[in-house]
């Protein structure tokens, strides 16, 4: 009977050090909030710097003229054209293959094969971009010289696993009942995949593509060895090396010339604006499509 007279709260306080536990709890909360504030703060700092330093160099010149030559006023129009062409070609090379790989994984392969393909794609995704650049340098650039097409090929290698994984993940969310309904009407498997499954998943595929494009548009490392030594002029000849935004920023960022540094800031602002817009687009696509799929 004597146990019952003991106040249970008293036990907690004395034996488990409630005060200390409360302090630990408090400290944990503050640290967690602090970490989130640090991460957001860094983002705001970087973007803020870009806007402040980049806007002063942005003007019409910047979008219509090629790179500055020795103190001349110039822009990055050549790099804009080059980047657009190279990223466009990379998309043409990577997206069809990536979507087919994803279709194979979700529609044809058994679970074991699909799982090993997932690992292969994830490992491919983990190959450093600079190593991909060296690879393309070794198989194509050696003996042929640099070219925008080779640069696009290097970017396509980086895009492939990203798009394939995103597509495969969304294909798996497409309800089984859609496929069954199509099969029940006597539609062949490939037509079902092409006309029913892919359209249902298109939002998710677009999200993956947009995120991959945003990422490779800013990649410098694969381009250094494939399309970096280019003339200072606006050109659309993809069989030669073309200047690109990331390589231009990279070269200018290590330049002591303040004119080139300010051009680097402006180019960085253009690049990040593109990347942010793409990411926000992806967010919108993803939210809408997922709701639709889950609703069906």
């Amino acid at each position: 009977m004597s146990e019952l007279t003991v106040d249970p709260y008293d036990i907690t306080v004395k034996s488990n050090g409630l005060r200390r536990r409360r302090i630990v709890e408090r400290v944990f909360g503050v640290l967690a909030i602090g970490s989130a504030v640090i991460a957001c703060g860094i983002l705001v700092l970087v973007l803020g710097t870009l806007v402040v330093k980049g806007f002063s160099s942005l003007n019409l010149y910047f979008f219509t003229k090629a790179r500055p030559l020795f103190g001349e006023k110039g822009g990055v129009a050549d790099a804009l054209v080059g980047s657009a062409l190279i990223v466009g070609m990379a998309m043409l090379m990577a997206i069809p293959v990536a979507v087919l790989v994803a279709i194979y994984m979700s529609e044809y392969a058994g679970p074991r094969v699909a799982r090993s393909l997932k690992v292969i794609l994830d490992v491919l995704n983990g190959v450093p971009a600079i190593v991909v650049g060296i690879f393309v340098f070794g198989i194509l650039v050696v003996g042929h010289g640099q070219s925008a097409v080779y640069g696009a090929f290097a970017l396509a290698i980086l895009m492939l696993p990203m798009v394939a994984r995103a597509t495969q993940e969304i294909l798996e969310v497409v309800p089984r009942s859609l496929r069954d309904a199509s099969f029940a009407l006597g539609v062949s498997k490939w037509r079902t995949t092409w006309n029913i499954v892919l359209p249902a998943a298109i939002g998710g595929i677009l999200t993956g593509v947009v995120i991959a494009v945003a990422r490779v548009a800013g990649e410098t490392a694969p381009l250094l060895f494939t399309t970096s030594i280019a003339a200072n002029e606006i050109s659309t000849n993809v069989s030669h090396a073309l200047p690109t935004l990331p390589v231009t920023i990279f070269v200018f960022s290590e330049s002591p010339d303040p004119g080139e540094q300010s051009a680097a800031w402006a180019a960085a602002l253009v690049l990040i604006a593109f990347v942010l817009v793409m990411n926000i687009l992806a967010k919108l696509f993803a939210g809408r499509k997922r709701r639709q799929l889950e609703g069906s």
Binding site: R21, V24, E25, F28, L31, A32, I33, S35, A36, I38, A39, C40, L43, V46, T49, P96, V97, L100, V101, I103, Y104, M105, V119, I120, V123, L124, G126, V127, P128, I130, V131, I134, F135, F137, G138, V142, I157, L160, A164, S188, K189, W190, R215, A217, T220, A221, L224, F225, S228, P246, I249, S253, Q261, W265, A268, L271, I272, V275, L276, N279
Partner: protein
């Protein structure tokens, strides 16, 4: 019976159509298999080709290249140790700082922040990952580096840590420490995004059970969530590490590019990826690029190994979860 009679005249056509459909299926399947094979072959080809490219250098310099502390084009002495040191030390510092921060961010997003606040903050952390490395490097060298030199490094030297040889010497804008901090910024979003997904997947009844037994929120996180998600956290950290090992551009811009092992972390050094990136202008022939290709092979081995271990843990982890 009548239906078969009616169908009969059309039989050749329907048979053809049926065969046509089969042909389409076969063709489509074939293309899909080819694409999957291509992706697999590509990975093997990259690994093979980079070694193949480095092979002349591997024969020339031998394995001792890996632990040779020299890079002198004049005396023709080359070794990878300077760059391996730079890669490993910058990535490890980044890992040490980024891991607790990432876990804390993930916990904030899943456990503390109200839903309305969690979504935009998660988006902001994701956007941090979207900043191209060359842009982060530009910011790192022109804005962040000088701040590190003028404020952060002197401050560290004033604390008891300043007695360590790693924190001695003259603070500088570009160096091992600045590069490591830039890498930290790059891997925080990767690690925290994976940790967040792990924490979301921890069954609510487990943490609720801990809370019902009288533990505080932190105790339930430490005792239940961490125990449940531990392998996943290790994999997340390794994936971040793989990314840090492989980063060439932002490190190149901030590490200072000096061919020597620095005695202090505040001094400039160089890393594998960064050294390779610096040499792009000279790389027009294989002979000139030979030792650089050796560095590329070493970098590939390090990052592939890190990634494979991470993947292995993920696969094991998922199998265990499925079994539950």
């Amino acid at each position: 019976m009548t239906s078969t009679a009616y169908e009969n005249p059309a039989a050749p056509e329907s048979d053809l159509r049926r065969r046509g459909i089969r042909l389409g299926d076969l063709l489509f399947r074939g293309i899909a298999v080819a694409a999957a094979l291509a992706a697999t072959v590509l990975l093997g080809w990259i690994a093979f080709k980079v070694f193949d490219l480095a092979w002349p250098a591997i024969q020339d310099f031998g394995l001792s290249f890996v632990w040779t502390d020299a890079w002198d084009p004049v005396t023709n002495e080359f070794g990878a140790l300077i760059f391996i040191y730079g890669t490993v030390v910058t990535s490890m510092i980044a890992l040490l700082i980024a891991t607790p921060l990432s876990i804390a961010i993930a916990l904030f997003l899943t456990e503390i922040a109200p839903r309305k606040l969690a979504a935009p903050i998660a988006t902001m952390v994701e956007l941090l990952a979207a900043i191209p490395s060359v842009v982060l490097g530009l910011w790192g060298i022109i804005v962040f580096g000088p701040w590190v030199r003028d404020h952060l490094e002197p401050w560290i030297q004033d604390t008891p840590l300043g007695w360590l040889p790693q924190f001695s010497g003259e603070p500088s804008a570009s160096g091992i420490f600045t590069a490591a901090l830039v890498l930290t910024i790059m891997i925080i979003p990767i690690t925290s995004a994976i940790c967040r997904e792990l924490f979301i997947r921890v069954p609510k009844d487990l943490t609720d059970g801990a809370l019902a037994l009288g533990s505080t929120r932190w105790e339930s996180i430490r005792g239940v969530m961490f125990a449940y998600a531990a392998p996943g956290i290790v994999a997340a950290v390794l994936l971040g590490l793989g990314r840090a090992f492989g980063e060439a551009i932002a490190v190149n811009q901030t590490i200072g590019n000096r061919n020597a092992i620095p005695s202090s972390w505040f001094e400039p050094g160089d890393s594998l990826g960064s050294k390779i990136a610096s040499e792009y202008v000279g790389a027009t022939s294989l002979e000139q690029a030979s030792s650089i290709l050796y560095l590329a092979a070493i970098l590939m081995v390090i990052s592939l190994a890190t990634n494979l271990v991470a993947q292995f843990i993920v696969v094991r982890f998922e199998r265990a979860r499925r079994a539950v």
